[in-house]
Amino acid sequence: MHPPANDRLNLVSVPLRIKGTFLPATLLQPAVTQPARFRAGLAERISQGGALLQTAPVVLDLAQVTVSDSLQPWVEACRELQVQLVAVRTDVPELQQQARELGLVALNGSERSAPAANQEEVPRTKIHQGTVRGGQQLLCETGDLVIMGSVNPGAEVLASGHVHVYGALRGRVLAGIHGDRQARIFTQQLDAELVAIAGHYQTSQAADWLHRGVAGCIALEQEQLVFSSF
């Protein structure tokens, strides 16, 4: 009944994608020089509801205190308390070396966060003013596509992200063309020729619901395109 993901509609298929991101991490900054006091304070904090330290990535920031000899007891304190330590931030080369030996990432003290791996990948929305006419094609490969008008029969609009149509959707619309299954299609009036999300498509001949004529949103749920009106 529902056609499988189609490579042809998946306009560009790549085995992996690299995206720059700013993941939220928690900075843990010791204010004492003795590991034992640090551990006690940390344990107390967790018991008071510092559960974020145990679920989200944590960076041990040693910029404020001088940890002279070994990193080992500090890291052990964290690990014993199930703190999800992923990196140590310090300017001291020996400590950076120790961090790596302990299986952690060593960050420079001045480094604020990892730079985006590829600036081009920052999502960018494209906005089109007016009606998309039959024979025209509009493509946004960097994010969402917003159409302030209708998409007429014979027109085709495609985006790697969501597609918003603030008018009637009478043509073909493809969202998530690079495989984003979370992508959605929004319209003020659904009367489409074809809709597709991440290569899963539905033609108007096979699906009467494409001609509901009402406002709503199409999403991909368990390999099926599902329409819900607003």
Partner: protein, 270 residues
């Protein structure tokens, strides 16, 4: 500087030439110096509708190829003083039209006229694109049926992409002209309604010309239908000309009224 207006549609036989002749005549009757260029090379029929086919000596291709001057090729209309036309060639290949040639002709006409109307051939290919290339405004002739509406929609896409105005970032002023409109057939659900057409095309309406036998009669006589003041189509074209000139006119001949015996007898179904 003249205003260049293309009369176009995509689909063939919807009433471009009929409309061009009547709009051009209407503008001239209102005192505007107007010239019409027939871009339908090979088919030539604007001259037939104007009834000047026997006065054609030179044509657009001759002018572009340097075989005749504009003055030699221009034909003056018998009925409206301010109206001229530049006929298409019946014999020459349509590739004889060049963009540079058309540009020169339009630039030269621009100095002497207020309006230049370009009667486009059907289709979306080179001929239609040449006719629209230098346009400032477009009259989009559309019949109230699905295929005509879709073709007009495609033409609007071309106006936004393939014209000089588009390339220079200017916007072409678009006017929707619905022709061969039959309120009765719309009422019976056999034709798209005015509202349906407008909703899809989203272009300001310049006029609705009713389906009328007077159009064919006028064409056969070689008199643009706008001159036959007794018929609805003429009145509707006059309204359209007024709107093109920026005047406000209420829509007429678009409501379905069941005809009584009285009007049937006295109006003869016109």
């Amino acid at each position: 500087m003249a205003k260049v207006i293309v009369v176009t549609s995509g689909k063939g036989g919807v009433g471009k030439t009929t409309s061009c002749a009547s709009l051009g005549s209407g503008l001239a009757l209102r005192g505007h110096r107007t010239v019409m260029i027939d871009f339908d090379v090979g088919l030539r029929n604007l001259d037939l509708i104007l009834g000047c086919e026997r006065r054609v000596v030179y044509d657009l291709v001759n002018v572009i190829q340097g075989e005749a001057s504009l003055q030699q090729a221009l034909i003056r209309d018998k009925r409206a003083d301010e109206l001229y036309m530049l006929p298409a060639s019946q014999t020459r290949d349509k590739d004889a039209l060049t963009l540079e040639g058309v540009q020169q002709v339009i630039a030269e006409l621009s100095r002497d006229f207020d309006y230049i109307l370009c009667d486009s051939p059907a289709g979306i290919e080179r001929g239609a694109q040449l006719a629209m290339y230098f346009a400032d405004e477009a009259v989009l002739v559309t019949n109230p049926e699905v295929s005509s509406v879709r073709d007009t929609d495609r033409i609007i896409g071309l106006l936004h992409a393939k014209t000089l105005a588009a390339k220079e970032g200017r916007k072409i002023t678009e006017h929707l002209l619905i022709t061969r409109y039959s309120p009765e057939r719309v009422h019976q659900g056999e034709m798209l309604s005015l509202e349906d057409v407008q909703e899809i095309l989203a272009v300001p309406l310049m006029g609705v010309i009713p389906e009328s036998e007077a159009v064919l009669t006028a064409s056969n006589k070689g008199i643009p239908v706008i001159h036959d003041e007794t018929c609805d189509a003429s009145q509707a074209y006059r309204d359209a000309v007024a709107r093109l000139l920026g005047e406000e006119r209420p829509l007429r001949f678009t409501e379905y009224r069941k005809q009584g015996l009285f009007s049937r007898v006295f109006k003869g179904g016109r």
